[in-house]
Homo-oligomer: 79 residues x 2
């Protein structure tokens, strides 16, 4: 089973990487970009084939290691 | 219009961040993880409302700035 995890900064948290992308794109002549935000994308290959237990385990991984829940949100897609 | 971009390392390219995640999860007792890979996730808010031109523009942004196409793949979702 494969888990796809998106970790993004919460609204209101300063996103210097996103701002850098915005400015760089603007400087390169792409003036159609109103805002940019950058997050992390993590793919995990899991041994588990049980969806419910895999979801619980990956959620725990996110809370304990992959995301800083003070400033970041995460979402999990299993397939 | 919103563009969601995933930038991931090509197969065969060393992924030290992914390896660090694998090892850290293993050390924390999550032994159900066979492999981990880390990529970037970028969200852009676009002024454009025309799907075809937006797709072309974002593709150009990826090739010129957001992805290093020598070692990275990218995928674009528009909505």
């Amino acid at each position: 089973m494969k888990a796809r995890i998106h970790v993004t900064l919460k609204n209101g948290v300063l996103d210097p990487q996103g701002k850098a992308i915005e400015h760089a794109l603007g400087n390169m002549g792409f003036d159609g970009v109103e805002a940019a935000r950058q997050g992390k994308y993590i793919e995990l290959d899991l041994k588990s084939t049980d969806r419910a237990s895999a979801e619980k385990e990956v959620d725990e991984m996110c809370r304990k290691l992959l995301a800083n829940t003070v400033i970041e949100n995460y979402s999990i897609d299993l397939e």
